[in-house]
Symmetry: C2
């Protein structure tokens, strides 16, 4: 299979359905870029999507998320199932793109056709990834991947949000990785369906487990996993050493348990509905803004912006004029 | 001064202008909540705003940002200038609000009328803080605060963005706080105008300084502080021990230097223009969406949402129908 960037979106989609990985990669690039082609892909994929299960993996930088993801991939492949991995990377002009160091470890699976791995970059704008990630999931879902792992590289709010919107979210901490207050600060406690203490062969693993346990106690049963499903799921704490796959079978069992719980309790449906609703809202906002700018006229839009920048006009008054042709 | 929550927005604004701190706090709460009243406050404040200088302070949790902010406040107050501090807190349902532990240290200045301190919470939605922070700055600016410190509690992408949008941004690291790759991952390198190695009395401070220096070398002069102002500002690296104010005078000199550079090079104006443009875009998006929903009708809007959730309709087709009355 050779890369032919000239192929149309439907051609690429058809090729991707036939198993052409270059076509899948190209479609994901179009999704990442956004715009009309991304929307076109979404429309092609939507009717076939809805069967994939997503697992988010997040935690502090250096906690071993990537190695753990790789170990989970190994576990899933041992069962014979296909898997896709989306690695959410904060893009940085400083390095000229996503940091690829962690990705290297995933090379274990690079030649395995049952594994599809892809980095998604934020490209510097906050909203971009929030839209591109569900679209990428929809595509992989429509192409038949039944399991999609979403690993975050950093622990920024967007990454936590993206990982926290998976069907099951794993939060990775380390022994002595600061106390649990740090996890709380980063917004990790509230998205966790499962806690992993990775690098558990190091000193302090049991203390970290105890800290997490106490925080769960303090939160009380009514708090877990959130008000979505009161008291019915307490996040288990699994100790792992991802580098030699210790504890990874137990982690996979915990994922399965949570999946069963989420499905039976209706939590899964509520989460998926909330996600879809948010995505819809984002799509509406973008299209309206494009339309308003078109109707207002590029020149007037610029004049009003100028007036705000020079503080001759407050932004609310300018906004009113900008959207006036639509309202 | 007693708290009278029944006062109207203009009454509160007038009282705030007269130095009523309860009124200021109440106005900031209204801004945090968003909606019509926030907009009203913005319009009242806009004509008088534009003179304040903002300094962002960000870095990993536990790096001592809060203590450093407190020390900076002490330094500024020693010069007799007033100062306001906005602490950007990730809100967490888990703890039932902002984590206040770090705030306690700021109690040093709690009885000083020259210091105004306020925590801003994200309230769980990504866009909220992005809008509320510039509005809070605008209010404090209009009320005559000439210096506003913006301290982030966590290091999430939103917090980094908020701090990175200050006129001068300080990035705080610690000796041995992972290598500089970690700072890079968190998106900190690219927002830094000044680096601080805090807790510099610990082992490894010089190594950390060297690491940062090497990263700056690698980036090359054309990269600093970004393409906004090629080659003209290399972020200085200041070693501090915030707990006893060691290095804080030097840090303040670095802030002054950067301020002069930014003003003279035009960087300050470009940054402020970019920020205002972004805020305007956000305001436009919100108002359009509210309007579209009104025109589409609550019932039809809900039907279309329902159809998307039940996968009878893709979100792009639904969005088209939702915005049809406006387009």
């Amino acid at each position: 299979v050779t890369s032919r960037p000239g192929r149309s979106t439907p051609e690429l989609y058809e090729a991707a359905q036939g198993g052409d990985r270059t076509a899948v990669a190209r479609l994901l690039s179009l999704i990442e870029r956004g715009g009309d082609e991304a929307r076109h892909i979404g429309r092609l994929a939507a009717p076939s999507a809805g069967a994939a299960y997503t697992v988010g993996i997040t935690g502090a930088p250096g906690s071993g998320k990537s190695t753990l993801t790789s170990a989970l991939v190994g576990r899933v492949r041992a069962n014979g199932a296909d898997v896709a991995v989306l690695a959410i990377d904060p893009s940085s002009p400083f390095t000229g793109g996503a940091i690829l160091g962690d990705r290297v470890r995933m090379q274990d699976h690079a030649t395995d056709v049952g594994v599809f791995i892809r980095s998604m970059a934020t490209r510097g704008h906050l909203g971009g990834l929030a839209l591109a990630t569900p679209e990428a999931i929809r595509l992989l879902d429509a192409l038949g991947r039944r399991l999609i792992l979403i690993e975050t590289v950093g622990v920024g709010q967007v990454e936590v949000e993206v990982a926290g919107k998976a069907d099951t979210t794993i939060v990775v901490v380390n022994p002595g990785w600061g106390d649990s207050v740090q996890a709380n600060k980063a917004g990790l406690m509230e998205v966790a369906d499962i806690f992993v203490v990775n690098k558990a062969d190091r000193a302090g693993a049991d203390e970290t487990r105890r800290d997490l346990d106490q925080m769960l106690d303090l939160a009380g049963p009514a708090e877990w996993p959130t008000h979505e499903s009161p008291g019915s799921w307490r996040p288990p704490i699994v100790l792992t050493v991802a580098t030699d796959a210790t504890g990874v079978a137990e982690l996979w069992t915990a994922v399965d348990d949570h999946r069963r719980h989420a499905t039976e309790s209706g939590l899964l449906e509520r989460r998926r509905d909330a996600r879809m609703q948010e995505e819809l809202g984002e799509i509406v906002s973008r299209r309206l803004r494009q339309h308003a700018r078109l109707l207002c006229g590029e020149e007037r839009w610029r004049e009003l912006t100028e007036a705000v920048l020079e503080r001759r006009l407050d932004p609310w008054s300018a906004a009113e004029e900008m959207i006036a042709p639509l309202t």
